[in-house]
Symmetry: D2
Subunit: 337 residues, 4 copies
């Protein structure tokens, strides 16, 4: 970190500032170039809060030279993290495709969708049991029963299951029953939940908050990792912008940014990003072309009667076609689906 000192600062203030920084365990390398005094800080700089430094007398500007995340930072782990679970590997040459309905609705629904997406080549089954809905009057999911149905679908197909956890109180159950725990966009900064899933070792699929910067997103991953769980999978799912044609705006440059800054795998959710089923296929291909490690796609046997997210769900038949077109694009990127 570098602190640029305001020219009007006197030596007493400088000494005071230097002392405070040193007390925090950092070394101050002072340089003066005729113009301004500059403090170059070494040592455990991550402990300093740049916001706090800005309020100190004499500080004109604080320039951070390192990103505030460590465990999620590619700087400290050059090779890509491969998250292992249920015999699958997320983040390697094989693309991860997670497919399934927005919410689990019945045994026949989830088992038949699971069978269909498996046949088409999906590696994981997704399905919501606990649903975060904007309205308290909307369907909130089958809850525990939904988890039971997911387990039946897993038993029937062998597909590991991905489901969203909304509450710390459900942690034990999710840890035992679910293969990948999803943290939804609305909970990306629910820090208590992040800390809780950091305590277990099951992989966590962390979705980007609707208005979260790349840095905030990685800081939320850091919350999980610093507790000990390094099996974090990032997921770009569209950000909120002024454009309303699509539900959100898919930010594919974020995939590149995340993979540059971090070693964690990055998936893309084209279904929530666009909110329009007819865009899912093209956006999926673009996600693979840009370098994403996989996709999470909403598939429903009967979108017109889906209990949620019908307008953005594709049918199993269209999912099977999509998998075929992904194969060709994946090959261009030296990957397999």
């Amino acid at each position: 970190m570098i602190i640029i000192i305001n020219p009007s600062t006197n030596e007493r203030q400088l000494a005071q500032l230097q002392q405070e920084i040193e007390q925090a365990g950092c070394v101050v390398n002072r340089s003066a170039d005729g113009l301004r005094t500059i403090f170059g800080l070494t040592g455990d700089v991550a402990k300093l809060d740049p916001e706090q430094l800005k309020s100190k007398p004499g500080v004109e500007k604080v320039v951070r030279l390192k990103e505030p995340y460590k465990k999620a930072n590619r700087l400290f782990r050059a090779t890509n993290t491969l998250v292992q679970t249920a015999g699958r590997q997320i983040g390697g040459d094989q693309l991860t495709v997670i497919a399934g309905p927005c919410s689990v609705e019945s045994e026949s629904q989830i088992v038949s969708i699971a069978a269909a997406v498996k046949a088409a080549g999906a590696g994981f089954l997704r399905g919501g049991a606990f649903k975060p809905r904007s309205s308290p009057y909307s369907f909130q999911g089958l809850k525990e029963e939904g988890l039971e149905l997911l387990k039946i679908a897993r038993a029937a197909t062998g597909l590991p299951i991905v489901s969203e956890i909304m509450s710390v109180s459900m942690l034990d159950r999710f840890e035992q029953e679910v293969d990948v725990l999803q943290i939804g966009a609305r909970n990306m900064q629910n820090f208590d939940l992040l800390k809780a899933v950091g305590q277990i070792r099951k992989p966590v699929l962390l979705k980007r908050g609707m208005s979260a910067t790349i840095e905030e997103f990685l800081m939320s991953a850091e919350y999980i990792m610093v507790e000990g769980n390094e099996n974090v999978i990032l997921c770009e799912r569209g950000i909120r912008t002024f454009e309303t044609y699509t539900r959100n705006t898919l930010d594919l440059s974020a995939v590149l940014a995340l993979k540059m800054q971090s070693h964690l795998p990055v998936l893309v959710d084209p279904s929530h990003a666009a909110g329009l089923s007819w865009m899912v296929e093209s956006l999926s291909k673009a996600a693979v072309a840009v370098g994403a490690d996989g996709l999470i796609i909403e598939v429903h046997n009967d979108p017109a009667n889906a209990k949620c997210d019908g307008p953005q769900s594709i049918t199993p038949a269209r999912f099977a076609d999509l998998m075929l077109s992904l194969r060709a694009i994946a090959q261009c990127e030296n990957r397999v689906v």
Copy 2:
């Protein structure tokens, strides 16, 4: 709700759609004007999910005529809600001013700030015990000890206390010890937490999420109210936009929109909105002029050494000056501070 039918829809599809809507308990008033068929729906329309209807065959457009919130809706309660607590009334002619530090740091800190803001005319003391921080390496608050110190400050000054609850597991303690429970912007759509605070009767200060629309904000209030707790206080605290000069962009038109759509009291947090202490006074005056029911302001005895939010905290002396200037503006609005 009105459904506009696509002209290419046949009678069999129309009948099917009508039947589905009627099975959901609504009445379909069909009209045909030579142009298109239109379904006007009556009955318990709130049970229908417009998103779900959009996926049905034959539906061209769904036009909602009522807002999806009921309990928070001014339509169903014309008079302003007055939230009563600890002898105070929030939402009436007297403006509510909540002041205090971002986080409780020590007994002397919180007691002295409490005394100072009380002397200046504040009605409530705010102070964070559990702090939601973007970085796991930042100060996370004194937690339970912070609550104890807040109680000491309350005992010393008589000011009721406002503090943020981050986790359902702390609900009992907050219910017993805190006068107003705050739900932070990052938890505005933490629905489990909303439902939990809906179970108690202590007032809840609900902050608008960084990228929440007016409607989403009111739907989060609805989550609390539908559980039985109607003591909800809304708080506009700035939204995330492209502008980076300020930490967020204070949206004062939201105060007007919220008071038009809802009967709930609306406060403004100029400290988090701007993130710049020198803007707090002017934005506070603007908030009162626009019609807010009060303010929540960060006050710290030593901003340069505050453990968080130093750059946006004002000193007790400046807070006292601010209260004086608010008095004049409040008078123009026929209110008192």
Copy 3:
């Protein structure tokens, strides 16, 4: 268009509203379904301004059923527009690749870049002569001299040239000397300029404004087309959002939306979107995978000394590599580069 009448409206007001609409040349199909009166409008509805209707007494809601653009609307021209110029065709199976420096700097610079991008397979040379810069102190382009140098490069390589017009006063010269006139993002709603380029027949490359919706973008195309010039090429170049890691946020779902709503060709500019040269290759591949009709890419022989946009320019060598990888992706989409 459908107008939903407020239930409290009396018959006199209804008659008055109906009369006003009929005087504007529309037919009112009135229907009443027991609930509300609904006006279904036919005739030359595009002449009505929905905003204006909203201010009329009795109007509860105005529902537009058609997009306000006609000439740009796919509804009225199902087949894709192929823009023809200089022996090239934009919008067909062959992808259009436009490459060259942000600004023309010297004869040797532009001629050598032109030769290099041609050798790599580019179809057009881009180069700025008149530069819209945020600062009056930044390099504003070589102006007329820049146009001369572009002509030399065209003569040397046979590549048609694309350059930005900033002012109506330069129209004659651009019409005679430039093959494709570019309208920059900042001028997307400079309506006088749009009308002026509508008067000529040279193709116009219209860039999306930084905060323009899909509809506003197409309305700007409409401004050009309604004057008689239907050779409009749309270009998505990133929108302004809260994210600052990239210069803008590339909105690839906009490509899909534009191609759904309109028959006009759609290009993507990954250089301005990201502002980071290392992202250009991956975003270009994603753009082709999503279905764009081509790309416009900044290529500079010496990015470190470029007079503008150095950080987002790639070298001719990297451009040649990019063209190779695009070939494979294009093939997946049944297109050629």
Copy 4:
């Protein structure tokens, strides 16, 4: 400006970089603190383009210490600019209130509105003759005839007139006939138009672009001022955000930011910001409370039949009431209306 050198840079690269900067007329003050080399630049640093520097080998980060605008910068002119025109002074203790219709529609319309707003205390008459409309099918203004009608209204009332110029070709006429030339939000970065109005001496009311940062806004003012016209009046009119309840989001913190960074007067346009007439009064009061130097308000005698912006126009009667309430708020700020 300070350049932080990447630690992996060798001495030859350093010398090369230093030489390039010196050739641009700056002095390099090199300091090395054991950690990194830092270049502190003095001299005519404004000539350097930080973007360009970032592409140079060895540059890790570029830290700007001065804002890129000079003439608009408060640093170089501490006292507030007072723009003088037609016996009025904009930017002093007396608030400037500009009122009138979105567009001039007829002689009786503009003369009667002018008389009414004058009687209520407005200082200027606004009225659009040339209208920038999103749709080519919307009313485009009465053009030259509109200017003639504005002159008649000025003659009848003595109110100086404010009208929007959209094209350089109209400059002579506007210079001669209009008292304050308005540059609309869509033309904030129409640099040719900015340079043109910089050539004259009539005051220019420059509106903030829909997605313009504070800095971009001031750079556009700089474009005008650097040409010689220092009579620039800034106007905040709402920015584009995700919120759609209001047409735009009024950013009152921008008023504070602009007045901190610049000496130019700052007005607020609550009509375009909200797009809702019922919000105009409250937002106007907030604008005065926050410290704006005045307001520009749309007033129409018959909003339901206005040719544009009906939903956001207030009647002369409501304008008169508004002026009364502004008086009280202005007094709190030691200003007069």
